[in-house]
């Protein structure tokens, strides 16, 4: 039995806890949150211990896996501590808030004999993994260009409103863009330089938006739109166009909706669009990590992958701040 300690019982902590509860060979041992009541209410559902300090969880000897779901700036220290304590570690993206701390994570990960993965869940979303497989099988010829879009309303109601603090979240291009940057690297390989414009530094309360152009070493190029500026409660929007020398693959979650539900309500009517699938990407991601531990395999997302995605993301906000293109791909 693999015993799990979850750190951070917010939005992602809840999703991860639900996934762990569905894995037969794993058991959630302890749930930790700096806010006691959050840890307790989640612990009640899964019948686990609670903690309010991450180091208390990491140090426990009855834990095999640490799952870090705290705000971004707290990732690196806990990853390093967990790895050094001999725990397999999975951590929400991005790997860290700064490149220096991400480098330190990579250095430590190399020294220890446990598994480590950053949770770049996009690789487990079927619309994205199917696209990757199709491209690998030559469906569009040589991939040369991409357009990506992702976003929705501003993430409000979070711990300490941490998303609105650029020094914590990095803003939308870092927090949300990092998903697409990892995916683009998966398709095109390493990036060379980026140019971006964004609201990130303009101090507009609860609005952020960014447009990034990425040039890859292969000469391929991509345009990425990330928004946290849609009206509250509107559905998340995700789409891509992947263009090659012999064709194009496109996806748009607003049109790829096999289920549309119109319901009469007491006070107002509702309309929703859904796309149900049996494979939960978050569960797939955790199952993958478990299989890496059990079969002693290298996880699909390496520490270097996570570093490179963060590097592109940070280059974007640097470019947006300076109105200059920013080179990436330096030595780790």
């Amino acid at each position: 039995m693999l015993r799990v300690g979850i750190i951070g019982a917010g939005g992602m902590g809840k999703i991860h806890a639900d996934c762990w509860s569905k894995i037969k060979e794993a058991k959630i041992q302890v749930i930790c949150d700096i806010e006691k009541d959050k840890a307790e209410s989640l612990a009640k559902i899964y019948n686990t211990d609670t903690a309010t300090s991450s180091s208390d969880v990491i140090k426990r000897s009855d834990i095999d896996i640490v799952d870090i779901c705290t705000p971004t700036p707290f990732h690196a220290d806990d990853i390093i501590l967990a790895l050094k304590s001999g725990k397999h570690t999975i951590c929400e993206k991005p790997i860290a808030r700064t490149l220096e701390s991400a480098k330190e994570v990579i250095r430590v990960a190399k020294e220890v004999d446990v598994k480590f993965m950053t949770a770049h869940v996009l690789r487990f979303f079927p619309e994205f993994s199917t696209a990757k497989n199709l491209i690998d099988s030559g469906a569009i010829g040589i991939p040369r260009m991409a357009r990506m879009k992702r976003g929705g309303p501003y993430p409000v109601g979070k711990w300490n409103d941490w998303y609105s603090k650029v020094e914590m979240s990095g803003g939308c291009l870092v927090d949300t863009g990092v998903h697409d940057f990892d995916f683009l690297r998966w398709i095109f390989g390493d990036a060379e330089r980026v140019y971006a414009s964004a609201l990130t530094w303009k101090n507009i309360l609860h609005k952020d938006y960014g447009l990034a152009t990425i040039r890859f070493k292969s000469r391929a190029m991509a345009q990425v739109e990330i928004t946290w500026a849609h009206p509250p409660k509107t559905p998340m929007k995700v789409g891509f166009e992947l263009i090659g020398t012999e064709g194009m693959l496109t996806y748009d979650n607003y049109s790829s909706t096999p289920l549309r539900i119109m319901k009469e309500g007491e006070t107002f009517n509702t309309f929703s669009m859904e796309s149900p699938i049996t494979e939960d990407p978050y569960l797939g991601e955790i199952e993958h990590f478990v299989s890496c531990i059990k079969e002693n395999k290298e996880p699909l997302i390496t520490p270097e992958d996570a570093y490179r995605a963060l590097e592109i993301a940070l280059a974007c906000i640097e470019s947006a701040r300076t109105n200059r293109p920013v080179n990436v791909g330096g030595e780790i």
Partner: protein, 329 residues
Amino acid sequence: MKGAILSFAHIHAFSYIECLKRIPEVEVSAIADEDEDRGKSIASRFNTRYYRDYQDLLKSEDIDFVVVCSENAKHKDMVIASAQAGKHILCEKPISTDIKSAKEMIETTNRYGVQFQIAFPVRFSPIVRRVKNMIDNGEFGKIFAFNCTNHGKMPGGWFVDKSLAGGGAIMDHTVHVMDILRWYLGCEAEYVYAEGDTLLHNIPSDDVGLVSVTFENGIFATIDTSWSRPKSFPIWGDVNIYMTAEKGAVEIEVFNQNLSLYNDKTMSVSWLGWGSNMDFLMVKSFISSIKENKPVEVTGYDGLKAMEVALAAYRSIELQEPVKLPLEE
């Protein structure tokens, strides 16, 4: 009112002549085309006089206006000669291929007192106009940014010959969207950064472009100008403008009023438009500007400022850094 088409090098000439024919008080009585086979067959199809040399056509007293649809690099000479001959002019976009000649065209048309309109039909789209009205009414609050595309299929021919087109995909597809953004914002671009390359086709010009624009008021935009629609794509391309603002977001897909045709005879799918004919609305506006002697809705200056961004994009690609506008000649 009598008009003439100067050159059918640009395929839009066919649409413009059809649109002009729908206006009762207008007659297209002559065409000029260097390509004698093409010119003669078009002249007989539309029942007009044919001239090989447009200079000869311009001597015709009965012609009130001309529509210039030659290769981009030839716009300048045709427009200047037409102005000198006292003809009103509707000129295909981009206005020309360099700042100096665009300025000369504007000056000459002013000097000879003729109307000079640039063919930006998207300005006349009811979809685009609806959003213009909403912006002007302040319905979105402060505008933040635009994410735009003007995609197409690779056109081939003179479009990929820099000496005739002045560039490739970036020259071809920056200007429509730029014109709309300038119109929406009432403000000029200040910085342009671009990435461009030949990535998809074996051609001498650029076929992909990502043009980033920062306006004087800080609003930013990107325009994807790429000829990236595959040969099998069901329609020629798109003009999409996604706007993000304080009070919401708008997605404009100008060419998304289509029927899907699944055709077994050609084993292909195509999207066939049923929306308003923007070319017709544009041509009608040009004719009424002449008739009522009122300013054209899209001026030579609009053409110049839109083209300037495309030129700045090429400059930026060379320098690998943002370029500040206005450009020097």
